[in-house]
């Protein structure tokens, strides 16, 4: 493309010489003489240059009153004239140097003609050649005049509104004798201005060296009575002053045909004219001008008087609370059909602000697709190729410029890949005759509240009467209504092109008065269970929380598993801390999956969606004071949206007394990219093989929970949990008691208790050990006791430590071990408490009392956890709590052990106290006999 600057009139304009017109010549006027015009007129004079190509000698447009005076009144109905002439052969002013082939004119946006109210001349009438060559078009189809040079001289003819098919928005024509020329307007993509031209003008006849085409602002105006042509009548008026000698009235409706823009920008509007020749087709002389021949800029004015009273009424499809809803949006713009006054301003921008609580529905996303910019074809007139799944609504636009309404659809734009770079956007794609209206709408969603604002900006400056949007209803509707009933209002704002800073604002009532029950309550349900409910078996565990529609949303989940429902952490990799926040943990740390259902209505969105990334549950390290954590990674992928991973971390702790697993989640995300996440179903499946272990008790236990709502309510649903086949488990643990140190009365021995269990045994539930009467409490060795406050703070004084305990469990990599305290209790005496620390902290508390004059320690709540070996070693000597009341070696002393398994089996024994009696004596070596 070459760009040449030419002087047009008094102003410097840019002239493009380009090889492509940019439009397809659909109007075939191969017989006509030569030239064409577009819509409205005035002249700008271009200095001809020596060129072998076609060029305008003069070209311009004029917007004027019928009297010829220019007008720039916005929203008025002026006459419009396009004029050009071309350099002629030397000595013959009627023959152009190059025969015009295509003459085309771009009008500024908003400058349009409206042929709909007017009768149209049929093509057969238009093409009929009567004697003398006049067309048979009726007078009431005339919408302007044409003056052109047919090679022999100037001819004056009428410009008629012609019948046209659905492929073009309008067609106009003029003819004389064998000359038949049509002017076909089209709607430009992008700015939706009108371009009109005559293409492939017939070259068989002498070309026209000049032409002047005028469209009347109000064809029925008596101002034009002397310019009308009687059907079939010859029509000449070489003087150009008066065309008819007698006025001719018309039966055409007395309504405007031509509209000036309803926009008054600071800068003048521009016109662009293009022309090429048969001798050099495709090489266009392009002229752009923004003033008329007198240098008056096309600067529209008077916008302040233009009426603008549109209405925008959004109507949700339901009055039910917390329900999916479709949406009907009706826009009406009162039009001025009469010849007097001004037309209403076109709408530049509409804004719909939904009340808080009306949000995007996740349920709508399932199965939805999105349309790319290329598929929508924004900026071109090609048919959109958006996938059917991207359609979210229909649109019908009724414009006074067309007999039939424009039909189309609203499609979802691709996330981020849209003109706004936004998460949510939509395209309005409506088909008109020969053009498409393609508009992008931004859907602004408040990231904190989810409040929706729909914005259509830079709407075409084309008048329309109504626009009706119908967004689909039903369970997968795009929107959801507020959770609670009430009187809401939808704020609408409509900005006119005439006065963009003066919107018409309205608040449209939105009443939600149905389905009010249940709103605001909070009564979630809980389900939990294992796949193989056999005592002591390894089995996947599932926990599920469901919330009814309309209830307060879930905020936080806390589960307490039943005693004995544990997991084997041995050999399970942990998700590194660095990866934990992202949820992109290694597979080796995965222990399960999660499934969630989100949204409102009968068909919530289930995640993961088919074909989308799977969810995962990973084991991770310490978090929020807990020794372990679970990371739930839910890829927020649904339909065409991908919001990354939703990562929820859950602290995993143990009740130190019961070893019950306590899982407390972080607050659940409530809104994602502006879409409130209404949790309907949260299902956690811990399914890693050989990971979870069942209790060995067949008593009915419970999975309990504390489920918090976003509004602070709490529910505590629990569900029974029971395994069976406890009888198949053995229960034969061994407890050995061993005394080290002195065996004499008054000695302070060291007692070591060692418990061992076998495979496939029930865990211990209750154990009591009564020392023989030979062992008294040595109260003088009581240093102090650890208070419960100190114990909780892990600040027990050293003097309160009386032993050390170690527990070995197959579930953990390392044994649990720690000191043994005397700790304050609610019993008569302080408790004997083993503080077992390691991968988890466990407390094992035994009540101390006397039984049959023996010191008895009873562990009444032994956790239902597998322990293969447990060693409790008391201090010896001056720190021993025991003193021998007699010589242990004189007679064996037996302890009394009573144990009850978690499966209910009893095991009692009276093991002897192992003492060093007899072990410390060394045999005297036998004297060797003397030789």
């Amino acid at each position: 493309m070459s760009v040449v600057k030419k002087v047009v009139g008094a102003r410097e304009e840019t002239v493009e010489g380009k090889g492509v017109c940019g439009m397809k010549g659909t109007s075939v006027w191969r017989r006509a003489l030569g030239m064409v015009a577009a819509c409205v007129i005035v002249a700008a004079v271009a200095a001809p240059t020596a060129s072998a190509n076609f060029e305008f000698k003069e070209v311009g447009v004029s917007v004027h009153q019928p009297t010829g005076e220019f007008t720039r009144q916005a929203g008025a109905h002026p006459d419009f004239t396009f004029t050009y002439n071309a350099p002629t052969e030397p000595g013959n002013d009627n023959i152009p140097l190059e025969s015009p082939r295509d003459i085309d004119l771009d009008l500024p946006p908003g400058l349009v003609g409206n042929p709909v109210p007017f009768p149209a001349c049929s093509l057969s009438e238009f093409n009929s050649v009567k004697t003398g060559g006049w067309t048979e078009c009726e007078r009431n189809t005339q919408v302007g005049t044409v003056r052109f040079n047919n090679g022999n001289g100037v001819v004056y003819v009428g410009l008629y509104n012609l019948e046209h098919g659905s492929e073009v928005p309008a067609r106009f024509g003029f003819s004389w004798q064998v000359y038949h020329a049509t002017i076909t307007p089209r709607v430009r993509p992008g700015d939706y201005g009108i371009s009109a031209g005559s293409f492939e003008i017939g070259q068989a006849l002498p070309a026209a060296s000049e032409a002047e085409v005028t469209f009347w602002g109000i064809p029925a105006s008596h101002e034009h009575d002397f310019e009308r042509v009687a059907a079939g009548a010859p029509f000449f008026n070489p003087s150009g002053e008066v065309w008819n000698f007698l006025p001719l009235e018309t039966t055409a409706p007395d309504v405007p045909f031509f509209y000036s823009p309803t926009y008054c920008p600071d800068t003048a509007s521009t016109f662009t004219a293009r022309g090429d020749s048969w001798e050099h087709p495709g090489i266009f002389d392009t002229r752009t001008f923004s003033t008329d021949a007198q240098g008056t800029p096309f600067a529209w004015e008077g916008c302040e008087v233009l009426p603008f009273k549109p209405t925008l009424i959004p109507v949700p499809g339901t009055h039910r609370a917390h329900s999916p809803t479709g949406l009907d949006v009706a826009i009406e713009v009162p039009s001025n059909e009469g010849p007097e006054g001004f037309m209403s301003s076109a709408i530049k921008k509409t804004v719909i602000v939904f009340p808080e609580g009306v949000t995007v529905s996740p349920s709508a996303v399932g199965g939805l697709e999105a349309c790319s910019e290329a598929q929508a074809g924004l900026g071109n007139n090609e048919p959109p190729t958006c996938p059917d799944g991207s359609k979210i609504g229909n649109v019908q636009i009724k414009t006074q410029l067309q007999k039939n309404p424009l039909e189309g659809e609203v499609v979802l734009a691709r996330q981020k890949e849209n003109p706004f770079g936004s998460t949510y956007a939509a395209y309005l794609l409506a088909k008109g005759p020969g053009f498409y209206v393609k508009l992008a709408s931004e859907l602004n969603v408040d990231q904190k509240t989810g409040q929706l604002t729909v914005v259509f900006d830079n709407l075409p400056q084309l008048p329309f009467e109504t626009a009706h949007f119908d967004f689909r209803g039903g369970p997968t509707s795009p929107l959801v209504t507020p959770d609670t009933c009430g009187n809401y209002s939808i704020r609408t704002e409509m900005y006119p092109w005439a006065r963009p800073a003066e919107p018409v604002v309205a608040n449209v009532p939105m009443v939600i008065n149905e389905n009010c029950a249940g709103g605001g309550t909070f009564n979630p349900s809980l389900q939990a269970g294992v796949a193989n409910p056999v005592a002591g078996a390894q089995s996947p565990l599932t926990i599920r929380v469901r919330r009814q529609d309309g209830e307060q949303n879930l905020s936080r989940l806390e589960f307490t598993l039943p005693e004995g429902e544990l997991a084997s952490l041995k050999g399970v990799a942990l998700c590194p801390d660095a990866l934990a926040p992202s949820g992109n943990c290694p597979v080796a740390s995965q222990v399960g999956i999660a499934t969630t259902a989100l949204g409102t209505g009968a068909f919530p969105l289930f995640v993961p969606q088919p074909g989308k990334a799977p969810t995962a549950l990973y084991l991770a390290g310490p978090y929020e004071g807990a020794p372990y954590s679970l990371i739930t990674t839910v890829p927020a992928q649904a339909g065409p949206f991908d919001f990354g991973n939703i990562v929820v971390r859950t602290a995993i702790n143990l009740n130190p007394n019961t070893t019950q697993v306590i899982a407390r989640s972080d607050p659940l995300p409530q809104i994602l990219e502006g879409v409130p996440i209404a949790y309907r179903d949260v299902r956690i499946e811990v399914q890693k093989p050989d990971f979870t272990v069942n209790p060995t008790s067949c008593e009915q236990r419970y999975v309990t929970s504390t489920i918090s709502s976003i509004e602070g309510a709490q529910a505590h649903p629990s569900v029974p949990f029971k395994v069976g086949d406890c009888a198949s488990l053995n229960f034969k643990p061994k407890l050995a008691l061993k005394l080290k140190g002195g065996t004499h009365r008054g000695d302070f021995p060291q007692l070591t208790a060692t418990l061992t269990t076998g495979k496939k045994e029930s865990n211990i539930s209750w154990v009591s050990t009564t020392l023989p009467h030979s062992e008294f409490l040595e109260q003088g060795h009581i240093g102090t006791v650890c208070t419960r406050v100190q114990f909780a703070a892990k600040a027990c004084p050293a003097a309160s430590v009386y032993g050390y305990a170690t527990a070995y469990t197959p579930l953990l990599e390392r044994p649990l071990e720690g000191p043994v305290y005397l700790r304050s209790s609610n019993h008569t005496l302080p408790d004997l408490v083993a503080e077992l620390n390691g991968q988890f902290d466990v407390e094992l508390a035994g009540r101390i009392d006397s039984h049959n004059q023996g010191i008895r320690t009873t562990f009444e709540t032994v956790p239902d956890a597998p322990v293969t070996k447990f060693v409790l070693r008391f201090k010896a000597g001056k720190k021993s709590l025991l003193v021998n009341s007699r010589n242990l070696c004189k007679a064996p002393a037996k302890a009394t052990i009573r144990m009850i398994g978690q499966n209910g089996m009893r095991h009692d024994e009276q093991p002897p106290l192992e003492t060093p009696c007899g072990k410390g004596k060394k045999k005297k070596p036998a004297k060797k006999k003397a030789k």
Partner: protein, 260 residues
Amino acid sequence: MTRRRIAVAAALVALATACVGGASAETIRSEDLLISFKTKLAPSALPRKGTAPINVSLGGSISTADGAPPPQLQTITFAISRHGRLDYRGLPACHYHQIQPASTAEALEACPHSIVGEGTFGAHVLLPEQSPFPSQGEAIAFNGIFHGDHVIYVQIYGRRPLPQSQVLVFHLGRTTGQYGVTMSAELPQVAANWGYVSGLSLKLGRTFTFKGKKRGFLSAGCPAPPGFPGATFAMARATFGFDDGSTLPVSTTGHCRPTD
């Protein structure tokens, strides 16, 4: 003094003796600390000249007016009337290790011939964050030898809350004035520092035969002047020493009537 006056005085003393009998009790208060001391002499009929075997009951209890734990008792000293006599000659002596640790039965079995009395011992244990619980036990007094000195061992055995035993070593001594024999012991800590003694009662006395003569571990005569039907005298004094350094003496009077 006319016979009639003597008769009236004797009648008043007899009345007083009859009213009080052989038992006496005193309670003193020092701020909120309440100490009660009870004594009893049996029999109360004693020879005006010479002595006869007696049993003496000594009982002390410590409490506070506001219910707060009292200070810890560290020492206790009993002083017995100078009219009394303590005689352990001929009594087998028991050794500490024979009766500690031991249950009452075991202690009795270990030193059956050294028994010189019995009683009870009470304490309260107040552990941090723990409800106070009593610790009580039986007490057996043995004639004993401790580091070469004659002592009285008070062996205490309690079953509850846990089987445990203690031995209080009462060292014997003499004092001047109204009192003669003294018995002093340092009390062990009860449950480390968390316990406090709430009471100790002992009934001392035993008769035995030594060298063919019947003897009493404790013996006394009635110091009633001739013609008087009875006498009132300083029976015993208990001195309680606490961990705050304070000592509180409490004394009782005794009454006797001559057997002749």
